[in-house]
């Protein structure tokens, strides 16, 4: 009788002991919440955004766990979690703030990214349109192509929320866009030079005045505006679109530079049939051209043994072809120009008569609006 009672009693005591030891007092729920908060933080990539804050959080989480373990090591009746619960509540508050901060940061980063990328795309498109206005666009297009490739890479990075790498990609894209803008500026800076503009205006006015006084014909070529105007007795009787040399916006200096010369010239020969339909040869180089060439050679600006060049014509064959420095136009327009031309007819070639309605006006507007 005694043995079964003792065994049962011990068994009951043991079960009571086990139950009591496990159930009282409970570990605060804040502990579990802190662990889940830790996982949420990790999923947001907190180590990339706020590594020091996260290290601090993890350190204090570990301290809390150690304290829990120390309490659990005690007999159930002696466990006390009140101060630990308070610690975890503070930790939850700080961790929650950190999580919210990172989430807001990511949302704003995404928006900032997309805004920066959109602005860059717009700038690239507008610059590409500008390149249609002049031939010397090789360096511009090269930089714009690299900018577009960078933007494509940034798109991939944005999808993966890799903001640091994406930000660097956008910075690279902006670098290429600035390089393209500089390349445009290098080509067109001369056209914003007031002295050059004043010189061209003076040549234009002198040519028109002479045409009026003598009742003669003058062909006025404006390179930036891409047009030739026929003046007869000081009155414009026809305007046609033209093409230029590969580096036509530059002032011709030597043979092979593929630039279109600027100055006052005369027609010296008419060709009713040439490689480029009808053609009118002008007397490039004139005396000013020879002086400029000599000065450039003295400064070492002429490559190798290059001469001053020649054979500059007004000819047909189309306005969109790239010439070696000649002024090209459509055959039908060339017919009209040819009809007005005589040996000795004045041909004045200027950089620009006016920058309104040209790419320069576009650039000025672009710079103002950003």
């Amino acid at each position: 009788m005694k043995a079964p009672v003792t065994a049962t009693g011990i068994l009951l005591l043991g079960l009571l002991f086990g139950t009591f030891a496990c159930s009282t007092p409970p570990v605060p729920p804040e502990v579990q919440q802190a662990q889940r908060l830790d996982e949420d933080l990790r999923r947001t990539g907190v180590s990339s955004y706020a590594p020091q804050d996260y290290d601090r959080f993890q350190g204090r989480l570990k301290d809390g766990r150690d304290k829990i373990a120390a309490e659990k090591a005690k007999f159930g009746w002696f466990r006390e979690y009140a101060s630990i619960r308070d610690d975890f509540r503070v930790l939850l508050n700080e961790g929650g703030t950190l999580l919210q901060h990172i989430r807001s940061f990511k949302v704003s980063k995404t928006e900032t990214f997309q805004t920066r990328a959109r602005t860059l795309v717009d700038r690239v498109e507008r610059l590409k349109q500008m390149t249609g206005y002049f031939n010397e666009n090789g360096p511009v297009r090269m930089n714009l192509a690299q900018a577009e490739i960078k933007l494509a890479e940034v798109g991939f990075l944005l999808k993966k929320e890799e903001y640091e790498a994406g930000s660097r990609g956008l910075a690279d894209g902006e670098f290429y866009v600035r390089a393209a803008e500089q390349a445009i500026a290098d080509v067109l800076s001369r056209y914003l030079d007031n002295r050059e503009l004043a010189k061209w205006k003076r040549w234009t006015q002198e040519s028109i005045d002479e045409s009026r006084q003598k009742g003669s014909v003058v062909f006025l070529v404006s390179k930036l505006e891409r047009r030739i105007t026929i003046y007869k007795a000081g009155v414009a009787v026809g305007t046609y679109e033209i093409g230029l040399g590969r580096y036509g916006l530059s002032d011709k200096l030597y043979a092979g530079d593929e630039a279109t010369p600027e100055g006052k010239y005369k027609i010296v020969q008419k060709f009713p049939a040439s490689e480029f339909y009808k053609a009118l040869l002008i007397n490039y180089p004139n005396e000013d051209d020879k002086k400029a060439f000599a000065a450039a050679r003295a400064k070492g600006l002429i490559p190798g043994q290059a001469g001053i060049g020649g054979a500059i014509e007004l000819h047909g064959g189309g306005k969109d072809s790239l010439t070696k420095g000649c002024v090209g136009m459509e055959n039908g327009d060339m017919d009209r120009v040819y009809d007005y031309a005589r040996v000795g007819t004045a041909v004045t070639i200027v950089g620009a008569v006016s920058i309104e309605n040209t790419i320069l006006a576009e650039i000025v507007k672009f710079e103002k609006n950003g």
Binding site: A7, L15, R141
Partner: protein, 198 residues
Amino acid sequence: MKGIKKHVVLVLAIAVALIACKQPTEQINNAKAAIESATKAGADKYAVDESKKLDADLKVAMDEVATQDKKFFKKFGPAKEMLAKIQTDADALKAALPAKVEAAKNLAVSLQGEARKGLDAAKALLDKAPKGKGTAKDLEALKGDLAGAETAFADIQKAIDVQDYIAAQDKAKSVSAAAAKVAEQVQAAIDKVKGVKK
């Protein structure tokens, strides 16, 4: 003998009661450490889907732990099994990473080759394009575009050299797209010269 057996049963009962109550802290820490180790080895870059699955599985396991923690008679057995599996999976993922990195490298090299072919095809098209009426300027502009793409192509190898294979893949895809765009525009210019109407 019977008395000893009963005592053993009693001790076992107490032990089970004690052990079953304890949170699987060790298993939780082991699972998290295994995931962390796999992440540091590059799992989040080269095994994105598997990495996300591990995170999701851990969340499920922790939810189970939390659920059991609220009960009077706690059963952490299933949660422990989940956590043990997570640890195993994370370790296996880490072990599999070298092969995945190699696969990423091979893909980067393959995409680099495609980008090269794209650039060469665009260049060949540009070289033979007739510079006829209305196209000379366009073709010159496209030469500039192709030159830009060629410069960007060099960056692919740089990324491969520093073992940033995902970046190399992205760069190669971007260059291929640029080369294809140039080829498309050259073809449009050629069609314009031939007077082909679309």
